[in-house]
Symmetry: C2
Subunit: 218 residues, 2 copies
DNA sequence: TACACAGTTAAGTGAGGAATGAAGTGTTTG
DNA sequence: CAAACACTTCATTCCTCACTTAACTGTGTA
């Protein structure tokens, strides 16, 4: 038990591997080369490190042609890394205004950052979500957005839970519902993912809709 | 941001320091010598490591005479370490029955393990806690136990929240209320802390009272 | 006062493991 | 088919940083 803990700690402890985990917090799968660039090291080296992480079952791989996509092997891993990131003190001063990454970003597979928290606040304020459960009114609302609550509930993963944001230090929605909401927003082109970053950019279409649905000025 | 993450990861990554963090998960403060014994290393070495952890503000120290007591410098640190421990797969098979540490233990400052989860279940089943909030009935119940709800609510820290147990993989109560409950149980000698371990032992007095209050046979 | 104990500081050593260079496999594309 | 690309494997190098030995400060106790 303790030895496994030490093993995990040692794996995450290396600077290159720490960077890998940091980048993967996005929730997306990354190729070996992308990770090599992000960690500023050689392909051979990243290959060695990725192999160790896969061996230890912290990451898993999927081969697609000549590419290999790496991602966290379980939610627990992502949450553990998120927990480590949580230690970092919030340094949002006037001199250091919100970067896109703290402003609007993904947390593994759902929306986080200031925007994630604001959307969550709005859902609660509109009584769409009450006590972190979808209300009667909420069910109707999500149906209007084209999200099938019952289908999402049937997934093995958690349907709706609270997740603490490491930059905002405030809870935002997570779980299959939050993922579905983010997917919908990506699909409708309200927001777009950025390459090599957890940051999310909001399109002008997104701005209008975020205001319309959440009274959110961005 | 990323560099601070790497720094933290590197600090926890060393086997000796990982052991320190693991031992400190108990929530108690430990002396340098105790930690040296736990990590199976020399006093000089533990001193060097502890110094690094304090410098990085992961731990804090308190001098008492010729002793120095070390503990996590914030809750966030404890939760991060707890998150890492969460990755470890549960290995409770028939051959490997519940050890005291998974059975009844402290999670930083509140009761966890099988007993922590069972108490939480009982509180929910008795409708003392509803939706992780203290009900009207609950307020009366806690008052009977000699716990002042309003005073606890006024503390700066979280009053009542859900905490995922790494051995049981189920939620149990945390926050100032949970801490107060554990303190009360220690005070009334229902349970006792053990030296150098997160395990908690249940006294015979405790067994009677746990059955009486929570219908819990231990 | 002396001695045991808790912890620290400083200099020197050594090993583990990350990074590099060179050569390989398998995949896609012109 | 050849060439570029994505990634791996292996042997070698190199360097950091944990640990040791030794000497020291400060606190409690016989």
């Amino acid at each position: 038990m303790e030895s496994r803990f030490k093993e995990i700690a040692a794996l995450i402890g290396d600077p290159t591997r720490a960077t890998i985990m940091w980048v993967l917090l996005d929730g997306k799968a990354f190729t070996a080369t992308e990770l090599a660039i992000a960690a500023d090291t050689s392909p051979q080296n990243i290959s060695m490190h990725l192999n160790k992480l896969v061996q230890a079952e912290l990451l898993c791989v999927e081969s697609q042609g000549r590419h290999k996509y790496y991602k966290f092997s379980s939610k627990d891993i992502a949450y553990a890394i998120e927990g480590l990131a949580n230690i970092i003190p919030p340094v949002t001063t006037k001199k250091n205004p919100d970067s896109p990454v703290t402003y609007c970003r993904t947390c593994y597979d759902h929306l986080a950052g200031k925007v994630g928290v604001m959307i969550t606040d709005s859902l609660i304020q509109q009584k769409i979500i009450v006590d972190f459960e979808v209300s009667k009114k909420g069910e109707k609302w999500f149906a209007e957005q084209g999200l099938d609550i019952n289908e999402l509930k049937q997934q093995r993963r958690s349907f709706l839970r609270s997740c603490l944001d490491w930059s905002e230090r405030r809870p935002h929605i997570a779980g299959s519902l939050a993922t579905a909401l983010l997917d919908k927003m990506l699909e409708e082109d309200w927001v777009r993912r950025t390459k090599n970053s957890r940051a999310i950019v909001i399109t002008s279409k997104g701005q209008k809709n975020l205001y319309h649905h959440f009274k959110l000025t961005v």
